[in-house]
Amino acid sequence: MNEVVLECKNLTKAFNTHSNGSGIRNFFVRKKKMFALKNISFSVRKGEIFGIIGPNGSGKSTLVRIIVNLLIPDSGYCMVKGMDVQKNEIEVRRLMNRVSVEASFFKKLSVMENLLYIGRLYNMKSDETRKRVEEIMKKLVFPVTYLEESVENLSRGMQQKVAVARAFMTQPELLLLDEPTTGLDPVSKRHVQEFIVYVRKRFETTILLCSHDMAEVEKICDRVAIIMKGEFVKVDTPERLKILVRGVENPTMEDVFIQLTGREWEKEVN
């Protein structure tokens, strides 16, 4: 675990909103800058699972979008295996993939048609895609009989498993998981979590996991960053973070969050 795969330095991103908060353009309403990220710096080593926890709107998805170069930061930079994500975008894109909270597929197309499309974009042959998809689906406990089914006919949990397969089949060295288990039933959630751990062990994939799920982060992440209003409050291993909690016997990651941010987790998430 020595090689740095992902390095982000001084990332700052602000969006213009309108001071009335409506988001509607109005000549007479003054524009206001809303900071989504403020001076974020961190690095993730090869084979590490790095967790980021924070409530909605804390900047997790903005950070992931910057890493995959779907969003350009106002300042700072991201490097993947020593390559700048903006300057070497084609090379870097081949090294990483992402699962987001929205499964995002061509709904009328079958699961396999969707995956073949992505496979072709990554220059994978159809046979190779089918083989990898079947292997991954087996691990995710996804019935292969559903591979020819339209995505729109699948449950949310099954769609999310397809999204996980889409990201893993390209064999990325860096995987960005943005709330991959949100909205899944407990069984599906466990399948996805076990698969993440398996992939790290089997391929030494470097994983960035953004989540709301404190237990999930505690269970599978090597290090965790707590993000609030676009800033990292603390970065450390789950064990060391829990040591910081005072006055609670057997503290959980939720206690860590409350201790470090002075806020209650449930209220922040909802």
Binding site: R65, L70, K107, K108, L121, R166
Partner: protein, 265 residues
């Protein structure tokens, strides 16, 4: 990825779009029936005049417009479609250059337009006595191929609009298409347009396409007789495509700065 691999990767867009056609087959049938009825209706207006040349004049207009507008529509709607499905971020994250992504979309658009227009042509030939004895079909085909480049360029330019704004972008692309239809002399000579609209006809590549197509198919004019116009049309097309890709890349960068690539963006 080398160029050969990227060309192969661009096939992803051709395969995906034909898969979508297959999945939305009932809608495809609706569109083709609508197109056929539209072309036949226009053809019968020509029949009503009792002038055979008028029938051919109108059918050429309808078919050429069908072909070029399908290309424009498919290219310009490619971004919009991904916006609606929410897949745009995954497509844009893939290791394929934007030029090759657009190349794949264009190849599909030309194939789809050819099949679509071909079906319409066959039906039109069944309904109307279209005399092509004096027509120079080779010149007509060349004009059509060269004109496609201009419409591909225009389509890419129009595809920029949904990058900037999800709904308004698509609306603007439809308005552009409608204005090109109005000013290009698809069903009538541009001389019937009010003076103040005519400058727009000069700007539309379809104006030159239709004029040359009619010269080739109605008057039998050869490539040699129209070489200068064909050359100009070719230069416009070949210049428009790189220019459109350049602006597309600028627009993508702008969208990335403002965070507009998001599904809800």
């Amino acid at each position: 990825m080398d160029i050969a691999s990227e060309v192969r990767a661009s096939y992803a867009f051709v395969a995906r779009n034909f898969n979508l056609v297959k999945r939305y087959l009932s809608w495809e049938v609706v569109f083709i029936v609508f197109t056929l009825v539209n072309v036949l209706t226009i053809g019968f207006i020509g029949v009503a005049t009792g002038d055979k040349r008028m029938v051919l004049y109108l059918v050429i207009g309808a078919l050429v417009w069908r072909f070029l507008s399908v290309i424009f529509h498919e290219v310009s709607e490619s971004i919009q479609w991904e916006r609606w499905e929410g897949t745009i971020e995954y497509t844009f994250m893939a290791p394929i250059r934007r030029t090759m992504m657009l190349f794949g979309t264009v190849i599909y658009a030309v194939l789809y337009g050819t099949i679509n227009t071909g079906i319409t042509l066959i039906v039109a030939l069944l309904f109307f006595d279209l005399t092509l004895s004096g027509a120079n079909i080779l010149t007509g085909l060349l004009v059509l191929i060269i004109s496609s480049f201009s419409f591909i360029g225009l389509g890419i330019l129009a595809a920029i609009l949904p990058l900037m704004s999800t709904e308004r972008g698509s609306q603007a692309a439809h308005i552009i298409q409608a204005i090109v239809l109005l000013v290009s002399g698809v069903y009538y000579p541009i001389s019937v347009l009010p003076e103040w609209i005519r400058p727009l006809s000069v700007l539309s590549p379809a104006t030159y396409t239709l004029r040359m197509m009619r010269d080739a198919l109605l008057n039998g004019r050869s490539i040699g007789e129209m070489w200068f116009d064909i050359l100009i049309l070719g230069i416009v097309g070949f210049a428009l495509i790189p220019l459109a890709i350049f602006f597309f890349n600028l627009a993508e960068r702008h969208a990335k700065k403002l965070g507009k690539l998001k599904r809800s963006g």
